[in-house]
Each structure stands twice: as structure tokens, then as C-alpha cells.
Amino acid sequence: MALTTAPDPTRRDTGSVRPDATRRGTGRIRHGEGLAGYVFLSPWLIGLMGVTALPMLLSLYLSFTNYDILTPFSEVEWVGLANYERMFTSDPSWWHSVRVTLSFALIAVPLKLAAALGVALLLNRAWRGVGLFRGLFYLPSLLGGSVALAIVWVNMFNREGAFNSFLAVFGIQGRPWVNDPDWALETLMVLAIWQFGAPMVIFLAGLKQVPTELYEAASVDGAGRFRQFVNVTLPMLSPVIFFNLVLETINGFQGFTAAFVLSNGTGGPVDSTLMYTLNLYIAGFTDLEMGYASAMAWVFLVAIAVITAVFFGTGRFWVHYSDGEDR
């Protein structure tokens, strides 16, 4: 769902298409083909209505009620803003989950993007076997939010896990990473960062787009590797960086599966992995407070919308579109 909310900046309309022509064109189409269009659209439209739009509206309504999932709709009681009030004023675990999620996103997302960009730069060269490495680096993110991967992670970062055995080779005494409240969230961050394949592929595509003449020109002007990176690569790549940043931030906020599996659905040890979505899930399905959970979901939606809007707002200062027409 989140995917559809973020427009792809790399495909931004240049604005040079004549607007009047567009309007005239669609006007002509509407007569003959409008009906057919809607008919062809209808499976998607029905899906959108039935699976997305109506449930969302319903959840908005429920967020003002004390709906507990077992009580029939007809007996649901309207409680006004009580759920929202409770969230902000008297639910320490809500605030805690906000803090956990923010620190997760603030640390994991930049590091993931940095890793993706770094590896993309390495793999952008034409050396032998590069295709294999591209595939290997992409593999972890194909596994995505899979439960199996999270289980592997738990076993790797146990006290007796592979990671500690590895450390032991160097005489380092490991920790029970996943069972240590000081480290459990960090372990999840490492998992998220490790899955940098998807943004990496997008970075690679972006790097291919940078015209080599620019590098040639820069090197003629005496720019070294680093200068070239800062003054050519980064600006030319900024729309892609922006795109990845928005997507990965939204993904980061929505992190659920790994935290759920690692903590057996509790957010433990001692709430250290109580991500926002996990807290929401617990409220709805364990505590049977679906009305409250709905309210949490809407606050979450608004928060993500605001953060995305902020990105778009600041984007104008650092995102550079090569066509140069709108900047």
C-alpha cells in the first residue's frame, strides 16, 4: 500500500507536455472508450473499494468506538476521542513503542541506504563476475520480511549462535544479543540493514544513468575520485536517493515480522522490540481492543504522511533533476 503513496521522482513529468493538448485528447476518448475503460478497471476498482477503501473507512469509524472485535457492530459504543486521548495521555506503552520505532528508523534507514549506495558503487564497475555478486547482494531482500529469515536471525544471534562462535575465534566474549534488552533492537537493525538489496538495485540503475561525459569533464577539471563522487555522482543520483529514502523510511516504520518472531509476539525482552505495528497488533488481537488499535493505526498513517510530506518539502533543496527544467 505504501508503495502507491510515493510517486516515483525519477519519472516525474517534465512539465513540458502541452496541457491543452492533453485535455483535448482525453475529451475525445471519453465518449467512445470511457465505458470500456471503467469495465476493464472494475476488478481493480472493486478490489480497491472492498479490500482497501471501505475497510479503511470502517477502521476510521471504529477508532472512535470501543469495538473489541467480539462484540457485533450493532452494539458498538461511540466513545468519541477517548481512544486518541488515552494514547497521548495515559498509555506509557504507546509512547514507548513510538520511541522504539523512531530510534529503529533513525538508525537503520540511513545505514541501510549508505550500505546500499556503497555496494552499488562497487558493483557498478565492469569486472568479471559482477553479475553474480549483484545477485548475491540482492538475495537477502528477496527474502524480505520472511518469518524464516527472522528465525535464522534469532538462532544466529543467540548466546550459542553462529555470531558468537565467530567472535570467539578472536577471543571476544559475545553477548546473548537477541535476549538482551540492550541489544535486541540493534540486532533487528542489523537484520534490516543487511537487507539492502532492493535500494541497492535501484541505486545501480541510477548510477547507470549518470552520463560519463560529466566524469570526463570533471576529471579534465582536475577533480579526484572523491570530488567526482560529491560533485557529480551525488547530485545526479539525488532523485534516486530521495526515492529510496522515502520508501525505506516508510518500510522502516512498518517493521513488524522480525520483531514479532524474535519476541514471540510480545515485544520483549522488556519491551525492547515493541515496534509500533507490533504494539498495534497486540492491542487489537491479544488485548481485544480493536477500536483502540484502529485509532493507533490512524495516528500511524497520519504520522507517516507527515514525515513523507516533510521529505517532499525539503527535497526541493537537495534533489536535482537532470532535465533542469523545473529547477
Binding site: 471519453r30 548466546r159 535476549n179 525482552p269 522488556v270
Partner: protein, 446 residues
């Protein structure tokens, strides 16, 4: 939000047929279709139920593993054999996600006629009028409970209604590694040791064997509960908490002492033991000499270790323990096949063949006469052991507490959090206890 309040397709505006209107009409039609679709589905579902050719189809839903599924399906097939008019729609799944699905089915207006439930959720469901009161059936003799231990039956009563019938009996059990103790010439723990004696024993085990003597159960509600009952308190009294922050502080301090003396593993191992499933309990993985479990889990534990295991009651006065329903069978209140579903419960509890078939998979059979038969028949050593212990303990069982109230699952989660806060040293026992009690009060008030 009721579908009827939505605008439905209105009659076409006969005057003009200009395209924008056509489009609007089309959109309206689509909207109407979207709104109406669920209704059609609902109507179809009703149609299924109404099919009255003398046959009844009962939907039944339970959690458990492969083995339980097989046994249950066999028992249900047996019922169909004896009552050819009744067939079953069987659904089962692993424990994980079971209650999510049950709640979702109920919310969707499509709950099973008959479902398995435990004491975490029985009151939640009963308080929301989701379960059928079985009392009238019991009074009329359609549900035979005469052979049930009274306290086990009582443990299914919520607000004066029989919300669920115990599918099996169970009680708290302290499992210890007998092989480890024998090898080191250490005494086995016995039922009736005080908590202090247990911790002293565990300390001795840690010192001698290098394996921590006991798994710290301070974050474990079942141990806390038994301990509370031994102090003359309870987890709940009516709709209130049955304990104070002082009680919790004493409980946390008891275990802080145990940890300081090295009687328990380190906090991360304790956490691992609490969070893990039964197959990786610390007594099985060798990270602790004891585990705090349910007696009927003995056979499952035994399967995962080569060592010999023993099981006794939790420390302190054994009358703190009670005949607990390991799980219940409940009938959905709106079920159209309620009478038939109750008859199935009766069959599963009291039919000699069915009970023999089911064995102790859901705990000891609730019917005492049949329990004796089953325990004589079993060849599984671990099962024999757990039946023997439970039978022995049954003589000292105290009265059953009330079924945990609405909000219990939250209280459990809060105890885990507070207990671990104290274990990891992030809070003193008193601080953790105060937090816990405050969080519980908020949880059960809402």
C-alpha cells in the same frame, strides 16, 4: 456504517443521456455492487445453514499439533458413525495465531459452532456473550458432569454461567532433571518443600553441577499465582486484583535473592526459557535443572531429552494448586446447531471409546471414572508419571480460583515485563512491582 445507509443505484435520470451522467450512473452502479457484494455472500451463507434435510453440519475449530488433530478427527468420526446425521467441518491449526483467527471469525459473523478455548480467553469471550451458557444443558442432563471433579467444573463458570466445559485436567508441575541429580549425588526435590528450601536446594545444585538449579519463575504468572494462593491471596477477587504491590515486591525479592545466590541462570537465559516453546524448555536443553511447566507437558518434555525427568508440585503448600482446565470446549452462542454441538461435547467428555481415543492429549480426562481406565491403559512412561503426580496432588488440591477476568492476557504480559525489568536489574523489585500493579489496574479497568 450499515450498508443500507449507503446510496444505492437510483433510477436513471430519464431526461438526458449525456455521457457524464452515464459515467456517474456507472460509478453508482459499481458502488452499489461493492456495497451489495458482502450481502450476497451473507445471504448465501445463510442459505447453507438453512439446508434442512435432517443433516447437521457442525463446524469445529481447535489448536494443537498433528497428533492431537488425528486423535480428535478419529473421535469426531466415531461420533458421526454413531450419529450419521451429524457431520463435521474440522479446522485446526498450531497454537500461534489461533486466537487471532477465532476472534476474526467471530467478528466476521462466521464463528465455529464449537471451539477450543483456554482460561486466558474464556472470560474475555464469556463476558462478551460469545459463549453459550451450558448450565441449562447440564441441569437437563444433556451434558453429563456427574463424574467431573467439582472444582474442575467450577473452573469453567464465568458470572454464574457455564461458559466452557473442561476438555481435560491439568495442574502446575515442577519438572527436574533426575539423571543430573543422581549423577551428582544430590537429593531430589519433594512436594511440600518451602520456597526458601527450594531455592537453597537449587543453589546447592548450581554449585555442585554447574547447571543452574532452578529457572527463575518470577515473571511466570502460574508460579506467581500458586505462591499468592499460599499467602492467602489470589490473582483476582471479583473484578479486582487479588494482590497488592507489597505482595509483588516480596515475590520479586524472593527471586532476586535466588539470582544473587546463583540459584538461577542469567536473565537472558531465564527470558529464553520463558519465551520458548515446550520443546526447548531449559530442563530439556540442559540450561537449568528444573522448569516450571504444566504436569501434562511431561510426555512432550520427555521426548526432547535422553535424561530421566521427575515432576512434583510447585514449592510451598500444595493446596495452593487446583484442578485447572487445560482447555475447554465452548459453543458459540449464536450457533444454529447448539444442541448438537453440546451433544458432541458430552460425547467427547463421557463416551468411553472417545475418551480412550483422546487419551491425555488435552490433559487428564475430566470424567474421573474414565480417567482411571485411561491411566491403567497407557504405556507411555512419562504420561504414567504425570497422571500419577496429578492423581496424588488431586488429594490436596485447593478450591479452584475464579476463571481469570477480562484483561488477563494483558496482566500476564505486564507481569513478564515487570519481572524481566527486575531480572535484568533495570528496576528494583519494589519499583517493578509498583509499575506492574499500576499497569494491571489500567488494563482491567478499561
Amino acid at each position: 456504517m450499515h450498508p443500507a445507509t449507503h446510496p444505492t443505484a437510483s433510477a436513471p435520470d430519464g431526461r438526458t443521456y449525456r455521457t457524464p451522467l452515464l459515467r456517474r450512473r456507472l460509478l453508482r452502479g459499481l458502488l452499489a455492487a461493492v456495497v451489495a457484494l458482502p450481502l450476497v455472500g451473507a445471504a448465501a451463507a445463510c442459505g447453507d445453514d438453512a439446508a434442512s434435510d435432517g443433516k447437521t453440519k457442525i463446524s469445529i475449530f481447535w489448536w494443537g499439533g498433528e497428533a492431537r488433530a488425528q486423535l480428535t478427527e478419529q473421535a469426531l468420526d466415531l461420533y458421526t458413525q454413531k450419529n450419521p446425521d451429524v457431520t463435521f467441518e474440522k479446522t485446526w491449526q498450531a497454537n500461534q495465531g489461533y486466537f487471532d483467527k477465532l476472534a476474526t471469525l467471530t467478528a466476521g459473523g462466521n464463528p465455529p459452532d464449537l471451539f477450543q478455548i483456554d482460561d486466558n480467553f474464556l472470560a474475555e469471550y464469556a463476558a462478551r456473550n460469545t459463549t453459550l451458557d451450558l448450565k441449562p444443558y447440564q441441569d437437563a442432563g444433556d451434558l453429563d458432569t456427574t463424574k467431573f471433579p467439582p472444582s474442575l467444573l467450577q473452573y469453567g463458570v464465568v458470572d454464574g454461567k457455564l461458559a466452557g466445559l473442561a476438555a481435560g485436567e491439568n495442574t502446575q508441575g515442577l519438572v527436574y532433571n533426575k539423571t543430573l541429580l543422581d549423577k551428582n549425588g544430590l537429593p531430589e526435590p519433594t512436594t511440600g518443600m518451602s520456597w526458601e528450601e527450594h531455592i537453597a536446594w537449587a543453589e546447592q545444585v548450581s554449585k555442585k553441577t554447574g547447571v543452574p538449579g532452578t529457572q527463575d519463575p518470577s515473571a511466570d504468572y502460574k508460579a506467581f499465582w500458586v505462591w499468592l494462593r499460599q499467602q492467602g491471596k489470589d490473582l483476582y477477587t471479583g473484578s479486582e486484583l487479588g494482590f497488592t504491590a507489597e505482595d509483588v515486591t516480596r515475590w520479586f525479592e524472593l527471586w532476586k535473592g535466588a539470582r544473587d545466590r546463583g540459584a538461577t541462570p542469567t536473565p537472558d537465559v531465564i527470558h529464553e526459557g520463558n519465551a520458548t516453546d515446550i520443546t526447548k524448555q531449559l530442563v530439556v536443553t540442559g540450561k537449568s535443572a528444573t522448569s516450571w511447566v504444566w504436569v501434562n507437558q511431561m510426555p512432550e518434555l520427555k521426548k526432547n531429552t535422553a535424561d530421566e525427568l521427575g515432576v512434583i508440585a510447585y514449592p510451598g503448600d500444595p493446596s495452593g494448586q487446583w484442578a485447572r482446565a487445560s482447555m475447554y470446549w465452548s459453543v458459540f452462542r449464536g450457533s444454529k446447531n447448539a444442541d448438537a454441538a453440546v451433544d458432541v461435547i458430552n460425547f467427547l467428555a463421557n463416551d468411553p471409546e472417545a475418551v480412550k481415543l483422546l487419551g491425555t492429549d488435552r490433559g487428564l480426562p475430566s470424567n474421573l471414572d474414565l480417567r482411571r481406565v485411561v491411566s491403567d491403559d497407557t504405556t507411555d512412561e512419562a504420561m504414567k508419571q504425570s497422571i500419577a503426580v496429578e492423581t496424588e496432588l488431586a488429594e490436596t488440591f485447593g478450591e479452584s480460583p475464579q476463571v481469570p477476568i477480562k484483561g488477563h492476557s494483558k496482566v500476564r504480559a505486564e507481569l513478564t515485563k515487570a519481572g524481566e525489568n527486575a531480572q535484568y536489574g533495570r528496576a528494583t523489585p519494589a519499583e517493578a512491582a509498583a509499575q506492574f500493579v499500576a499497569a494491571c489496574k489500567a488494563a482491567i479497568a478499561s
